[in-house]
Amino acid sequence: MLQKDAQRLSLLLLLTPFLLWILLLVVLPQLGIVGISLREKVGPRQFTFGLANYLAFVQEPIYWNTLLRTAVMSILVTFLALLVGFPVAYYIAKIAPYRSQTALFLLCLVPLWVSDLVRAFGWIVLLRETGLISGALQAIGIIKGPIELLYNDATVVVGLVYTVVLFMIVPLVSTLNGMDNSLLEAGHNLGGSRITVFRRIVVPYAMPGIVAGCIIVFMMTAGSYLTPILLGGKNSMWFTEQIYDQFITRYNWESGATFGVLLLAFTSFVVWLGLRLTGQKLATTVAKD
């Protein structure tokens, strides 16, 4: 009996920091945000309960267009990150000699040692009108005048893929590492071509990693702020920018909170839809049997 109590106490003590963290830093602020989003300003320091903020969002096309645009771009970034990340992960996990695997993996992590901000400025140094690429192209005579490579969608997408691709590679490497090479050999031995083996064995096996990577990357992209702002400028029309605007520039906390709630709800919905469409379950991406 006593031992059982002790066990329960130690479990509680171990869980406390985690629960406090979740409760104080995630749940409470979210509830606060939801609360703020549900009040209407009727006068100075006078509020009533209502859905006016949500109505305003629906009635203003620029808002929900921005949200949709953010979602579509994020999906595109996620897709590209998967396209770029999969071969890299496959190489690290399956083709590279065992001894260089760790080194390659660490090499992928190197960009993380530099902050987001610095990396974004790195892109700016390369891509701006007076930047390295523009200068180099002029020097070898491919273009006449200077060229501005910043502030367009392509640059934003490239910058985002670069920032998030690592978070695609890590879960993919760990799932692919668990795959026995004899599965691939069996696939070939039983008559499968390279494409068949890839499609029917490698991809299904890596599916939990693919799903996990896609969810992380999508959420990170949709919620990113620095990269779209710095590389896309005013043209980026990223939804987080709208939220920032409402909170900081316009000091309209109610509207900003509404946008925050909508971003969370909408991205969660996209993830749910993605899981449904690919027939995956969230549980299988976390737990492997």
Partner: protein, 361 residues
């Protein structure tokens, strides 16, 4: 017509020669085993036949046609992997259908063949099950069915029983043999377990350090080993070191390091007086008894202990020169008079005593 032929097959990895000039011919419909300790190159040999490794030199022919140029998926040689390599993301039916689908078989054909092969291995109702729901023995049979449904010319088996527990392994040995008869396909079985090889095979090749030491029926290997390695690796043996004293009529008189004189059948082995030699005697060739005949070796000693193992029971006898000898006894006979401490008179025929030149040390 041979189902599988290897001619002078060699595989080098850098300076290391894994398979060294191996030749074999397997007639259709037989059960052929390659028996050898781990690291002897048997897996490399199998991987070359399956097409996962390219030989450094030599040729592999399946049904008389060289397959050196064809990739693994174009060879009609299927393989049961050591850990079976069943696809975890497919159910049993899909696993078996995989190869048929790769061939582009029609849906009706696939359903019919998958049903038929499951029937044949005695698991007609498992098509919808997931792999992890199967027992070890069932997985084994599914792995074989997955290959056999493609009607291969040769089925390769890479120590597939290694992962099973002892009881199941014993049962699967018999089952594999029966399956091979039933499918009437050539099985090439790789193992380091001599009892698996002896029980199941029509022919066994004993492999050591990349080379074949001897190819023969299990009986030949057991009774007439041609090298010291085969004598030591196949079956149990008592082993002595000694010096050849005299040779006549294919029989060598050898004085062991313990000082006993043993006459051995030296057959084809190139021994001459003065050479050091290794002597092998099977425990089941040695009998207790006092009568000495002209053609028998005799040793005396005391029974040290009894090792009961049913019909495979042994007595450990400490002979007068202080060495321990294993002697087979009838453990099932409860009136067995042998007790530890008894004096023992051992004898066995010259013909059952093998001797080989000892390796230079």
């Amino acid at each position: 017509m041979y189902d599988l032929q290897c001619e002078n097959l060699t595989k080098r990895f850098g300076a290391f020669t894994a398979v060294d000039g191996v030749s074999l011919e397997i007639p259709g419909g037989s059960f052929f085993s390659i028996l050898g300790p781990s690291g002897c190159g048997k897996t490399t040999l199998m991987r070359m036949i399956a097409g996962f490794e390219d030989p450094s030199s030599g040729d592999i022919k399946i049904k008389g046609r060289s397959v050196l140029g064809s990739p693994p998926n174009k060879r009609n040689v299927k393989m049961v992997f050591q850990h079976l390599a069943l696809f975890p993301m497919m159910n049993v039916g899909e696993n078996i259908a995989y190869g048929l689908r790769c061939r582009g078989a029609s849906k009706a054909d696939i359903t019919r063949k998958v049903g038929a092969v499951l029937e044949r291995i005695g698991l007609p109702d498992v098509a919808q099950k997931q792999i992890h729901q199967l027992s070890g023995g069932q997985k084994q049979r599914i792995a074989i069915a997955r290959c056999m449904v493609l009607e291969p010319d040769v089925l390769l088996l890479d120590e597939p029983l290694g992962a099973l527990d002892l009881k199941l392994r014993e049962r699967m040995k018999i089952e594999l043999k029966l399956l091979q008869h039933q499918f009437d396909t050539t099985f090439l079985y790789i193992t380091h377990d001599q009892s698996e090889a002896l029980v199941m095979s029509d022919h066994v090749a004993v492999m050591n350090a990349g080379k074949f030491e001897q190819i023969g029926t299990p009986q030949e290997l057991y009774h007439n080993p041609r090298t010291a390695f085969v004598a030591g690796f196949v079956g149990d043996s008592n082993r002595w070191h000694g010096k050849v004293n005299r040779i006549s009529n294919g029989e060598a008189e050898i004085v062991t390091s313990g000082g006993d004189t043993i006459v051995a059948n030296c057959g084809a082995s190139a021994l001459s007086p003065g050479d050091s030699a290794e002597i092998f005697v099977r425990p089941d060739c040695i009998a207790f008894g006092g009568v000495r005949r002209e053609t028998q070796n005799t040793l005396t000693g005391t029974v040290d202990s009894l090792l009961f193992n049913g019909a495979n029971s042994r007595a450990l006898v400490r002979i007068d020169s202080r060495e321990l000898i294993e002697v087979a006894i009838n453990g099932v006979d409860r009136s067995s008079p042998i007790k530890p401490g008894d004096p023992a008179h051992l004898n066995w025929a010259f013909a059952d005593t093998q001797c080989f030149p000892a390796k230079e040390r």
